[in-house]
Assembly symmetry: C2
Homo-oligomer: 116 residues x 2
């Protein structure tokens, strides 16, 4: 699913329970033009800045990291961590490129002690 599709779906789902999640209202709270958000939801405009993604995630009650991943971005927080150990991260990345999902799952479980 694309970033825009995910966003629209999340907003509409929210709107069903809770009135107050029209495009205009969300745009208003997040602080952008409705027309702009509309185009993002339809993937006419690319995913917005990290700041705006985080604000959208907060407003919609979604996981910011999922939204960022869908947008193909890293949070600045993670970016800083990676810059501190580039060789280690480069190797991880190289493995990730070829790893099947179950291998990544295993890697995550390895660190989380399986509680995921």
């Amino acid at each position: 699913m694309s970033f825009g599709d995910y966003l629209r779906q999340a907003r509409l789902a929210r709107q069903q329970q809770d009135k107050g999640y029209s495009l205009r209202q969300v745009a208003g709270r997040v602080g952008v033009e409705p027309a702009y958000l509309s185009k993002i939801e339809r993937d006419i405009f690319p995913p917005p800045s990290e700041q705006m993604i985080v604000k959208l995630a907060e407003d919609l009650g979604e996981d910011p990291d999922v939204l960022l991943a869908l947008a193909g971005k890293l949070s600045t927080e993670l970016r800083e961590i990676i810059v501190r150990r580039p060789r280690l991260f480069a190797e991880l990345i190289r493995q990730l490129k070829d790893a099947p999902d179950h291998a990544i799952l295993r890697m995550v479980r390895e660190v989380t002690d399986g509680d995921w």
Copy 2:
């Protein structure tokens, strides 16, 4: 070490063995202005585009992924992979944020069968 420092060090190391790695010559092969490369090496200008980073890595015989990580960037290749499984990646990221180096090392070894 910063992106610029790493770049300059790599170029100078190369220049010692192999004449032909002056700032001008590298800039010439990579296709940018020497003054621009100079400023990048001194961290006056931020790391350049992904394309240029990859060209520099090729010319200097360095690992492009390390250079990209130092620059705080994702390769487009990896970005595409992440977009395909955002939830899985988001969880991995969340763990990475808190994981100490040895835990990440363990994850990498888990996938690489220890040959790193």
